[in-house]
């Protein structure tokens, strides 16, 4: 069965600093990978996805993620965070053979200091 691990429960970063959120997955085949963001009291919004091809994918809000098969990782990065990036971030792996059933990691809550 597939699984997703987000090792960092909380991360605090200063506004303007870079951000990297870690994600490790376990999946037998080529994974579909996703990053979602959840602002307080809101639903989840898709930031970016990886299916195949270029291992560096660009998303919305200035985020990017890099797929590394050898490390089973799909880390999310942003070069310079804004106060509005304070939210919870979820990595997910999609089981495409089962209709894109998603398995989510536990989430990383990002706090942004002024």
């Amino acid at each position: 069965a597939q699984s997703v691990t987000q090792p960092d429960i909380h991360i605090t970063v200063s506004e303007g600093a870079s951000l990297e959120l870690r994600c490790n997955y376990s999946y037998g085949a080529t994974p579909y990978l996703f990053w979602y963001v959840q602002s307080p009291g809101q639903g989840l919004q898709l930031l970016l996805k990886y299916f195949s091809g270029d291992t560096l994918v660009q998303g919305i809000k200035g985020f990017e993620a890099e797929f590394k098969r050898s490390q089973s990782s799909f880390n999310l990065r942003k070069p310079s965070v804004h106060w509005s990036d304070a939210a919870e971030y979820f990595c997910a792996v999609g089981e495409w053979a089962a209709g894109n059933k998603l398995t989510f990691g536990g989430g990383t809550r990002v706090l942004v200091k002024p």
Binding site: L44, F90, L102
Partner: protein
């Protein structure tokens, strides 16, 4: 701007009562998912449908939960009888089979006292 809608947004009920949550997927999306989010368990998939047919409901407690799609524009999740441990935020999401991008609704926050 197409969105998934969910009603009600908040529900407070007493233990033993029936709860019905509704979801309107994005028009044209043929797959609908129900998730539950709690502090302890995180995001869990309860059930999902494709073209209104259930694909998998193994994440759902069968004795008290039921999910249906009466038509392509409505998905429902019912809990009967409700219990305090059902308190959570319930999300509906829909996707287009071709893109595999799930769009989430705002959620229903359920509190069972």
């Amino acid at each position: 701007d197409a969105r998934v809608t969910q009603t009600p947004r908040h529900k407070v009920t007493e233990m033993g009562q029936e709860v019905t949550m509704r979801c309107q997927p994005i028009l044209g999306h043929n797959t609908v998912f129900w998730y539950r989010q709690t502090m302890m368990q995180g995001l869990e998939l309860l059930a999902y449908f494709r073209n209104r047919a259930p694909l998998d409901d193994s994440g759902m407690p069968k004795d008290r939960f039921s999910a249906e799609m009466p038509d392509a524009t409505l998905a429902t999740l019912k809990i009967q009888p409700s219990e305090p441990r059902d308190s959570a935020v319930y999300f509906c999401a829909s996707d287009d089979e071709g893109t595999y991008e799930q769009y989430f609704g705002p959620g229903t926050r359920l509190t069972v006292t």
